[in-house]
């Protein structure tokens, strides 16, 4: 393909014959035996698949302890692979292994580790609650993920593991609370479910320590934790419009639980602000403060469609302002879109009585058009430049 292009470029006068010759020489010197690699890869794949299907076909015939031992050996082999590829100084003059490959190996290693708990549960018929396995898994794998994580995969595993642990514990009758019947464990649960927000100051701390080759991992940790906080608080505000929480909260447990969110989010904001004074850091800290305020306001406003709607608008309006401050284009556009959608719903709620009439429908439709146009205009006029901030894929 290169030869055909080169001839075309020489013909079009884009490059001269000498340049074309130099390119040919360079390509010849740097040619990689792709076909050979493909054949070797295919053979390795065939052998691997063959072994897997042999084991799978006889899986039930194996003694359970042998199965567990095979699982353990697989984990050991992966640990060896990780040991050899995670040498970030590029020993023996080798090229450094790509971060994506290290992250993929970490992902497989950690997931196989999690599956080991399930495997033990099957072999020994254990009946322990699932959160205990997740807690132990986090204790064993979190140090590794924190120290060697490179990007999306390990950051998702780490923050996702912490979030899963908190929510599994929130729905365990043995711990005194379930989603269907909130009990005495609700306050503890609320605090635990808020704790993943602390990954934001943690990531900021790691980034300040200038762990340069892994700054991508730090940004991912922070982004996932922020996304979790925003999703959880937004859902809570949306749910608050459905019913008056005070009416099902005779002993005030739900109110206390909601009030415990605020100081924890505030603590995360304070730590983040102390560690990271950049526009992005202070914007994220103020978003956490907004989330804390929304958690306090949701309870008294619950049951009121208009009140909860205004709270949602205030929350996402504030987030849009913070995104402008930190020149975060994606977050700004998300915030304006959500703001506009909620405003449209609110306008229909406000004109609810009129909706029965033709006039109400016309007013509602016109309002929708105005809001949609305004939001589109706003998000394109004021959105920070794409180049203003390192985008998702880059590592500054």
């Amino acid at each position: 393909m290169t030869e055909r292009k080169l001839k075309a470029w020489v013909k079009a006068g884009l490059i001269d014959g000498d340049t074309a010759a130099r390119i040919r020489n360079y390509e010849a010197a740097h040619a990689r035996p792709l076909a050979l690699w493909a054949v070797v890869g295919l053979a390795a794949l065939a052998i691997g698949l063959g072994i897997i299907s042999l084991v799978a076909a006889n899986w039930d015939a194996l003694v359970p302890q042998t199965r567990l031992a095979l699982h353990g050996i697989l984990l050991g082999v992966l640990a060896l692979v990780l040991w050899s590829i995670a040498d970030d100084r590029g020993a023996n003059g080798r090229d450094r292994v790509s971060p994506a490959l290290i992250d993929a190996a970490l992902l497989v290693f950690a997931l196989l580790g999690l599956a080991f708990f399930g495997h033990i549960g099957q072999v020994y018929q254990t009946s322990a609650p699932p959160w205990q396995a997740v807690a132990l898994w986090l204790a064993l794998f979190a140090p590794l993920l924190l120290a060697m994580g490179q990007g999306w995969a390990s950051a998702t595993l780490l923050v996702g593991g912490a979030i899963t642990l908190a929510w599994l514990r929130a729905d365990d009758p043995l711990l005194g609370t379930t989603f269907a019947h909130p009990g005495t464990g609700l306050i503890r649960s609320a605090a635990e479910c808020t704790a993943p927000a602390l990954f934001m100051p943690l990531a900021a701390f790691a980034l300040r320590q200038k762990l340069a080759p892994r700054s991508n991992f730090g940004h991912r940790l922070s982004q996932i934790a922020l996304a979790y906080v925003l999703a959880a608080i937004s859902l809570m505000v949306i749910f608050s419009s459905f019913s008056l929480w005070a009416s099902v909260d005779s002993d005030g447990t739900i109110h206390t639980a909601l009030l415990t969110l605020a100081p924890l989010l505030g603590l995360a904001a304070l730590l983040l602000w102390r560690i990271d004074r950049s526009p992005a850091g202070s914007a994220n800290a103020s978003i956490l403060v907004l989330a804390a305020l929304a958690a306090i306001a949701a309870y008294p406003l619950s049951g009121s469609a208009i009140g909860a709607g205004l709270l949602f608008l205030a929350l996402w309006g504030g987030i849009a302002a913070a995104a402008l401050h930190s020149a975060n284009r994606a977050l700004f556009q998300l915030a304006t879109t959500l703001f506009a959608l909620r405003l449209i719903i609110l306008s229909f709620e406000a004109t609810g009585g009129l909706l029965m009439s033709g006039l109400g429908l016309i007013i509602g439709g016109l309002l929708t058009l105005v809001i949609a146009w305004g939001a589109w205009h706003l998000s394109h006029t004021f959105a920070p430049d794409r180049a203003a901030r390192p985008s998702a894929g880059e590592t500054p």
């Binding site: 039930d60 353990g72 132990l136 204790a139 590794l144 120290a147 060697m148 009758p173």
Partner: protein, 174 residues
């Protein structure tokens, strides 16, 4: 990264998982093995994932005739902290609910079965589950739903009262 630290970080999960395996195997190896009749948990959904779910039919003490027809569950109230098993393993001659956790009658029990209720509290085990392979699941489901067959669970009673299911067997009902 410091090679010693890297080694420690990679060894921690392996050592931890190894310990979990050893600890679980140790704990499950202790205790006495018993047999108890069981019945399908929910006729519409006997299998949940790869688990066969069932309810225990503990022989109630005293064996009042009226209770034989009804389910055994009402006699074994949730107020009890556990179930006293009396008999010569693996045959359970009779059972009796235990009151307070320090019930003096516990002295005469051959074994005590407990099911965790909430922190520090236990109750009588009413239902359990057994992990089975995909091939065996269909056979067990058919057998459990057969009204002419009585299913019996062979289990190990751990010293802490937790039931570890081992296998299901079927006999024609008399």
């Amino acid at each position: 990264m410091n090679p010693a630290l890297r080694l420690a970080l990679l060894a921690l999960p392996l050592a931890g998982l190894g310990w979990v395996w050893y600890d679980t195997a140790q704990r499950n190896a202790q205790g006495i093995e018993w047999d108890v009749p069981v019945t399908g948990y929910d006729p519409r959904d006997l299998l949940k994932g790869h688990y066969v779910q069932f309810q225990y039919q503990w022989p109630v003490d005293p064996p009042a005739p009226s209770l034989r027809k009804a389910s055994a569950a009402p006699a074994l109230s949730d107020d009890a902290s556990g179930l006293c098993l009396i008999g010569s393993a693996p045959v359970i001659a009779r059972t009796a609910p235990l009151g307070a956790p320090k019930d003096p009658t516990a002295q005469s029990c051959t074994g005590i079965a407990r099911s965790p209720l909430s922190t520090g509290q236990t109750t009588i085990p009413h239902s359990g589950r057994l992990y089975v392979s995909e091939a065996e699941a269909t056979r067990l489901q058919t057998a459990l739903s057969d009204p002419h067959q009585q299913a019996t669970l062979h289990f190990r009673l751990r010293p802490d009262g937790i039931i570890v299911p081992i296998s299901l067997s079927f006999q024609p009902k008399r």
